[in-house]
Amino acid sequence: MNLLCLGVNHNTAPVEIRERLAFAEMHLPENLREMLKLDSVREVTVLSTCNRVEIYASVDELDSAINNLTDFLIKHFEIEDPAAIEFYQKRDEGAARHLFHVASGLDSMVLGETEIFGQIKKAYATAQSAGTTAQQMNKLFQQSFRIGKLVRSSTKIQQGSTSIGAVAVDLAEGIFGALDGCKVMIIGAGEMSRTTAQSLVSRGASSIFVSNRSYDKAEELAAELNGQAVRFDDWEESLNDVDIIVSATGAPHAILTHETIDEAMDKRRGRSLFIIDIAVPRDVENEVNEIESVYLYNVDQLQRVAENGRVRRQEQIEICKVVIEKHLEEKGIGALQNVPPGIRKQIENDEESGGREPAVN
């Protein structure tokens, strides 16, 4: 039997095409069983996320299976212009390598992200419960989970934040530790404020104050974040209590001056204050960073930290690939196909012992 991966992802197809090819979660088990009825197809699993639609299949004859599955997709999604869609095809070791790359986050839009790992697990579980997997798919996906964990634990692919929101949260945790006791003031209720505030809330910040020139918008965002709206004329009064300020107003001049913060810090008596200024033009005077225990980051500075994180992750790609190649070399695609009794016993032992990962130098 041969292994096949057929699909599109964010690198090969725009969102307009990906959304047309997305499988409905509710009907996926039924769709999987339909695909299993196709000639040559012996086992099948579908990974359908916002960034990719991939069919992994164990097949008797590769070319025939590719044609049958492609026809199925065109028919199922009622694609009128099939020539507009180019499915990539990965065969045998290439298919296994591709899944290992995907599971390790190497094929993701945000390099090294972990969400894909859960999505693969879910895809496999769906196929299992639909009864469309057997020995080859089981081995392939179990190995991909092992590889995904191994790559993440033995390389630095996950290190460093790569987005402004994540950088802001990491810095906040570096200053205050757990964010659950932190008070956050959001000044300006725009999209950037919402995104950054959501990042902080997702890591435990629970006491949120929102201030905006339009009080209605402040109330709206405060309700969304389970916080409290503060009138724009009153936000300065809260300065003594908050730990983090996220400022993103459309004001043409600085609204947080050195004098204002300096006065507030006198009353705060040394408690640290983290100011995230994501407004352009900036909301906070640059000199504010010179005040003791005040840490001011503007959008460029946050971008720079995020860029460093991205560069660090890029540098890890080759190391991750070595880990994957070493695994393929050791286990080989043969392990997924015709399993000799000795090897089968070893795999079974590995599974019984919780899937120990081989050491990597």
Binding site: L171, G174, F176, R269, G270, S272, N289, Y295, Q301
Partner: protein, 264 residues
């Protein structure tokens, strides 16, 4: 086993701990605390062994010379590190603790090579004197760790202010915890020093005026430092700088004190 050999092995462990921690931090792929703790733990065992051998030699607490005092302070630092490290999530403190202990013990080894005073037995052991000296040196250990926490705060503050938080920043405990640890260590040190000084008044031989003045001065410095911070008149950065400065002063008192058998 020869006491100098024991101290050499212990010192090498701390050098190893320091090198390993720096390498782990540079690579970023390992958790430095587990291995660091093991190596430092091994250094601590040999430290204890050295002090036990020296204690048997003198028939009392082994703080009879500059070299022994340095080892005893190092022992106190490592003890504090183990007792407080986990509680305050300061396992990375080992990165800064290990080099400090390495320097102290290397100096002690040089002193011992230059001239070991040998057994310093006394016909009668004054337990108040032993307690006074031991507690005072333990207090110095706490002050040393407070200084280390101060340096840590300083490094974190500098990285945050310059907008270049490196790998080291993300490996350290939150900057707020560094300040908490610093103030707690100062408090523990002051408490131990207070008991140490009070026990001096029960000694068979009353301490000299010089000792009283110097130990009183150290007590006042740390007392004022804590009082000013508690009154919120000192920012964390200034507290960190003051903790380092105060420890240098405290360390200097060990040098200027004429009789090292009673460090305060």
């Amino acid at each position: 086993m020869d006491d100098k050999l024991l101290l050499s092995i212990s010192t090498l462990c701390f050098l190893g701990g320091f090198i390993y921690a720096v390498m782990a931090l540079r690579s970023g792929s390992h958790n430095p605390s587990r291995w660091n703790m093991t190596i430092i733990g091994l250094g601590f065992v040999f430290q204890c062994w050295f002090l036990q051998v020296r204690g048997q030699l003198h028939g009392r607490c082994p703080i009879t010379s500059g070299a022994e005092i340095l080892v005893f302070i190092s022992w106190a630092i490592v003890l504090m590190y183990f007792v407080l490290g986990k509680a305050f999530r300061l396992s990375l403190l080992g990165t800064f603790t290990a080099p400090m202990v390495f320097v102290f013990q290397t100096t002690a080894l040089i002193f011992l090579k230059m001239g070991d005073t040998g057994a310093q037995r006394k016909p009668e052991v004054d337990h108040w004197l032993e307690m006074h000296a031991a507690l005072s040196l333990l207090a110095y250990g706490a002050f040393a760790l407070a200084a280390v926490a101060g340096i840590m705060y300083f490094v974190q503050d500098r990285q945050l202010k310059s907008h270049t938080p490196g790998k080291l920043f993300y490996k350290m405990p939150p900057i707020r915890y560094s300040v908490d640890a610093l103030i707690r260590l100062l408090g523990i040190g002051l408490l131990l020093l207070t008991i140490g000084i009070v026990s001096a008044f029960f000694m068979k031989e009353f301490p000299s005026a010089g000792h009283l003045i110097v130990s009183g001065a150290v007590w006042v410095i740390y007392g004022l430092l804590i009082a000013i911070y508690v009154m919120k008149k000192l920012t964390p950065k200034r507290l960190a700088i003051a903790a380092v400065g105060a420890f240098l002063v405290a360390l200097a008192t060990l040098v200027v004190l004429p009789d090292t058998t009673s460090p305060l």
